[in-house]
């Protein structure tokens, strides 16, 4: 059973809960244009297969991500326990400036909770990750997680930590058409722990 990465992506792009979301065998993506600080930004979000057997392959997709969302399932401790190894991969394969966001998904299943908020929050703080508990089912905090990630990426660009000119920054600048504001669409990637 997946931790809900694809459902989170659907919730973000379509504002729908896809309860019977097919298993992700590969890497899918969704896009949405959002506004950060008055700028239109196109997010391209990659949703990777989380199964262990694909891990070697999905590694190729980390490169050049401007942001990463790591997801675990609050009702299954095993998914939480895997986080550190996913985090190691993410850190090793992305830029130091890549924004990493931790999501504890399925917060609607509070009764079956297996990982406390405090414990995960501490893990996130220790590792310098942003963190929320969210539910792809109710939509709670989903928007926030993606938007916060985008905001953080945007800030990194503003204060020059993220070099737009580096081929692997994961961010593309589009030349503005006459009289239009600039748009810098970053790509975020959705990694997994399951």
């Amino acid at each position: 059973m997946g931790v809900g990465k694809s459902c989170l992506l659907h919730q973000f792009t379509d504002k729908k809960f896809m309860a019977d979301c097919p298993h992700t065998i590969g890497v899918e993506f969704g896009t949405r244009i959002i506004e950060v600080a008055g700028q239109k930004i196109k997010l391209q979000i990659w949703d990777t297969a989380g199964q262990e057997r694909f891990r070697a392959v999905t590694r190729s997709y980390y490169r050049g991500a401007a942001g990463a969302l790591m997801v675990y399932d609050i009702t299954r401790r095993s998914t939480y326990n895997h986080l550190s190894s996913w985090l190691t991969d993410t850190r090793n394969l992305t830029n130091p400036s890549t924004v990493i966001f931790l999501i504890g998904n399925k917060s609607d299943l509070d009764a079956q909770r297996d990982v406390t908020y405090e414990e995960a929050k501490q893990f996130a703080d220790e590792n310098g990750l942003m963190f929320v508990e969210a539910s792809a089912k109710t939509g709670q905090n989903v928007e926030e997680a993606f938007l916060e990630t985008a905001k953080k990426i945007y800030q990194s660009i503003q204060d020059g930590r993220l070099d737009l000119n580096a081929a692997e920054s994961g961010v593309q600048h589009k030349p503005a058409s006459p009289g239009r504001p600039l748009a810098a669409p970053p790509a975020a990637r959705d990694n997994c722990a399951c």
């Binding site: 590969g26 070697a56 392959v57 748009a183 669409p185």
Partner: protein, 853 residues
């Protein structure tokens, strides 16, 4: 297909008068999308003109011109630029070609091949040529390649249902913006409501007078104070200074007078004031509405002398009130009784020349507004009735018969002026011309008919005129002021509803965009080949169906740090292709374990497992997992392992085999079961017993199926005789020898052997020093071959043929060594030397070597 064949296919894509002078097959477009797309680049010449074409090819190499579609056309004109960089990390192999033509920039990644030189030379020849001619070439022949909407262009510029061009990877934010705007205006009624505003419009030609009388009787006589005042004056100042320098004191005098005399029951603020010579327009609005006024812009147009001077013309102010755009025009049109045509022309000039310029927006004209109010001294007269009749009729308030002769009414009716505008019914006396200070008609000699020079028109939805009147008591001028009150519906956005609709629209667009991401269905993503045996080809098929709305280009792509997109034992056909919407493509996956892959399987360094990445351009990646169990075989084992197997290989546990393979260097004779592999012995012995006299021994091929049976016989162990014909057994022997993990003469000795090949003694010396079991196999086989040569009369063998055949087997080339491209001659020399080496052992008695053991 060779280069020339491909070239002729590319040429077919063009007319015969358009000659393909150079092309490159493996260019990748980087910029502007930064998606590496494989493309073909061609330089095409027509007369003296050249252009670079970038073509998409649906299969590679293109088999017919229908496989090609033109994506980008870059004429080599004077604006054309070409810059070349090397890839910093790989300057020898990869080149970047930056092309720029007419402000379009493209970047291509190109593999360095000798062809690139030709291409680049041709390109620069083209650039040089175009810069050597004085005129810019016209490229008429390229017209047909531009702006095509057929399939050719589809892969490049996809088309949204709304007809908006859309490229997947470049974020079309600007296009999207306008699409949002468009959609939002379609749904305006869902999030707007209207509120009625009263608007006062007044116009007065003050005939060079100062405001010495109160204006209350004009500006403040209604029951309710209006929400907006639009007050226009003409002939504020007729002095030469004003006319020439456009400066006047009157501006402030009249402005202050208006401020003083507007309705005192409400508080007004200025929206804008604009003046050109004697024409002035003032807009005031109730203070409480002021925060909803946006984008205030004004403009003036002079239509006076030379069509420029400001003694005649129009001044205008536009602004947005809530969500309705309003435009007010105050104009003073050409004078002279007969010249209504001139006045019509002034009206058209004002319409055409008024431009409201706002930052970051297209300029707006008068007509680009929801509500337009046009007031002024329009100067149209009554010419067809005699002045006395007119005066008599209007003095009796019998306006109808006179208005029938009003030039403006007539011109308006014919749509020669104010087309689309409305004017209310005139129920007031003509406003011109009076003796100033009186209500008496002009008493000068001219004796003209009184006329309604001062008028108010409007245009727009949901505007109701409540009053249209003159104000005769204000008599300082030869004109009387006129005013109209309008009740106009102003659209107001319900923020709450607007947000909801906006989100809905955004969601729809996101959805549309996500739907345009290529979508395919793959019938299965896990392919199990079951048990796979040595040299037995297995085929599985997967079917890809394009379930999206656009053509999909797929390609199996390399994983991180891997040289190829699949393992060496796998063949994928086709590995890239374009599938049209709703069509399917079958992909064949073929597994073949041959000598190269078998030893890796035996040694456990590879297994029948792979994950393929099926990439959709502009879309997702699908992982295809390949699985199977390799049935280990004596083919592909090393000699050192085989001599230690005292049972058929099938009975050896997999782990044990891997262990043996990995320790094969430590294999020593006194611990080993056999001195040569039993499999070799079985095959040789069989030929020795049954086939030495077989005609064409070692020359006639065996049957594949029999070879597979022999393989199974060896691998499974059997008490039955070896199956198959002698030729099949002989071929199986050759295959077995060729497939051993290491060659019989180690790779590192090959060059020594070749150098020694002319010298039997040296060759003997080398053989003496071979690893023990290889030496055994070598000598055993040579002994056997000598035996076979004894029967050359029957089997037709000769020592030359045999030594060539076995030379290639004993002295195998190292597949892992990156080979210098061998010339054909060079290879022949090497093959000859290999044969020569073996030859010694086929014609000399070397039993001394055997006994030296």
């Amino acid at each position: 297909m060779n280069h020339d064949e491909i070239k002729s296919v590319v040429q077919e894509k063009f007319l015969s008068s358009e000659r393909v002078t150079a092309f490159l097959c493996d260019a990748k477009v980087l910029h502007p999308d930064w998606v590496k797309k494989d493309r073909l680049l061609a330089i095409v010449e027509f007369g003296d003109e050249k252009a670079v074409f970038c073509l998409f090819t649906s299969c590679y190499p293109p088999k017919s011109f229908t496989d090609l579609s033109i994506e980008i056309v870059l004429p080599i004109d004077k604006s054309f630029k070409c810059e070349i960089d090397n890839k910093p990390s790989d300057p020898e192999a990869i080149l970047y070609l930056n092309l720029q033509s007419r402000n379009n920039k493209y970047k291509f990644e190109i593999q360095m091949t000798p062809r690139v030189d030709n291409f680049v030379d041709d390109l620069f020849r083209g650039i040089e040529a175009v810069n050597n001619v004085p005129t810019q070439p016209e490229f008429v022949w390229l017209k047909k390649y531009h702006g095509r909407n057929d399939n050719d262009i589809l892969t490049h510029t996809m088309v949204l249902p709304g007809g908006v061009p859309h490229t997947q990877s470049s974020a079309p934010v600007a296009i999207r913006e306008s699409l949002i705007k468009h959609k939002m205006s379609d749904k305006e009624y869902e999030y707007t409501f209207t509120k009625r505003f009263t608007i006062f419009c007044g116009t007065w030609n003050v005939n060079d007078k100062s405001p010495v009388i109160p204006l209350k009787g004009w500006l403040s006589i209604d029951k309710e104070p209006p929400d907006i005042y639009a007050v226009g004056f003409q002939e504020l100042d007729l002095s030469k200074e004003t006319f020439l320098f456009d400066q006047t004191m009157r501006e402030d005098e009249w402005y202050n007078a208006v401020i003083n005399y507007v309705d005192k029951r409400a508080k007004y603020v200025k929206v804008e004031k604009v003046r050109l010579v004697g024409m002035m327009l003032i807009i005031l609005i109730k203070e409480k509405h002021f925060s909803h006024v946006r984008n205030v812009v004004c403009d003036t147009v002079g239509t006076g002398i030379m069509g420029k001077m400001g003694n005649k013309g129009g001044v205008s102010i536009r602004f947005d009130l809530h969500s309705t755009s309003l435009c007010f025009v105050n104009s003073h049109l050409a004078a002279h009784v007969e010249e209504y045509e001139r006045r019509n022309q002034d009206f058209r000039d004002i319409c055409n020349r008024t431009r409201f310029i706002q930052p970051n927006q297209l300029p707006k004209g008068i007509k680009d507004h929801d509500h337009i109010y046009w007031l002024g001294d329009l100067n149209y007269r009554i010419t067809e009735l005699d002045p006395t009749t007119v005066k008599k009729l209007v003095n009796n308030n019998d306006f109808g018969p006179v208005l029938e002769w009003d030039q403006l009414k007539q011109q308006h009716k014919c749509n020669n002026v104010f087309a689309g505008y409305i004017e209310g019914d005139i129920m007031f006396k003509p406003t011109y011309k009076y003796d100033p200070g009186t209500d008496n008609w002009d008493s000068s000699e001219k004796n003209r008919a009184p006329a309604w020079c001062d008028r108010i028109f409007w245009k727009g939805d949901k505007i109701v005129q409540l009053a249209y009147r003159s104000h005769p008591s204000l008599n300082i001028s030869d004109h009387k002021p006129v005013s109209a009150i309008f009740n106009s519906a102003i659209k107001i956005i319900d923020e709450e509803k607007y947000r909801k609709v906006y989100e809905e629209v955004i969601k729809q667009l996101d959805k549309m965009e996500n739907e345009l991401i290529p979508q395919v269905k793959v019938d299965r993503t896990e392919i199990d080949f079951g048990t796979v045996q040595y040299l037995e080809l297995q085929v599985r098929t997967i079917t890809i169906t394009n379930i999206g709305k656009l053509p999909v280009e797929f390609e199996f792509i390399k994983k991180l740090d891997e040289a190829s997109f699949c393992k060496e034992w796998l063949i994928v056909e086709p590995y890239k292709k374009c599938i049209c919407a709703e069509e399917t493509c079958e992909i064949q996956l073929k597994v073949l374990i041959n000598k190269t892959s078998a030893c890796k399987m035996n040694a456990g360094t590879d297994k029948l497992y792979d994950i393929l990445v099926l990439h959709l351009y502009g879309g997702k990646d699908i992982f295809i997992t390949i699985n199977g169990t390799y049935q280990r075989s004596s083919f592909g084992c090393s000699i050192e392992v085989l001599v230690n197997l005292n049972m058929p290989i099938k009975e050896v546990p997999v782990g044990k085999l891997i262990e043996l393979e990995n320790k094969r260097d430590q294999c020593v004779s006194n611990q080993s079961t056999y001195s040569i592999p039993k499999e070799i012995w079985f095959l040789v012995d069989h030929i020795y017993l049954h086939g030495l006299k077989e005609p064409n021994l070692f020359e006639q091929p065996g049957f594949h199926s029999e070879i597979l049976q022999i393989r199974d016989w060896l691998d499974n162990g059997s008490v039955d005789p070896i199956p198959g014909s002698i030729h099949s057994v002989a071929e199986a022997l050759l295959l077995l020898l060729e497939s051993t993990a290491d060659p019989i003469i180690p790779y590192n000795l090959q060059s020594v052997c070749l150098r020694a090949s002319a010298n039997y003694l040296q060759c003997k010396q080398i053989v003496m020093e071979l690893p023990e079991f290889r030496k055994n196999v070598f000598l055993y086989l040579c002994e056997f071959l000598q035996e076979a040569l004894q029967h050359s009369a029957e089997n037709g063998l000769d020592s030359k043929t045999l030594s060539t055949l076995f030379g290639a087997i004993f002295l195998r080339d190292n597949p892992n060594q990156i080979q210098e491209p061998q010339s054909r001659i060079n290879k022949q020399v090497i093959d000859k030397k290999k044969a020569q080496f073996v030859y010694h052992f086929l014609v000399n008695d070397h039993s001394d070597l055997i006994f030296s053991r």
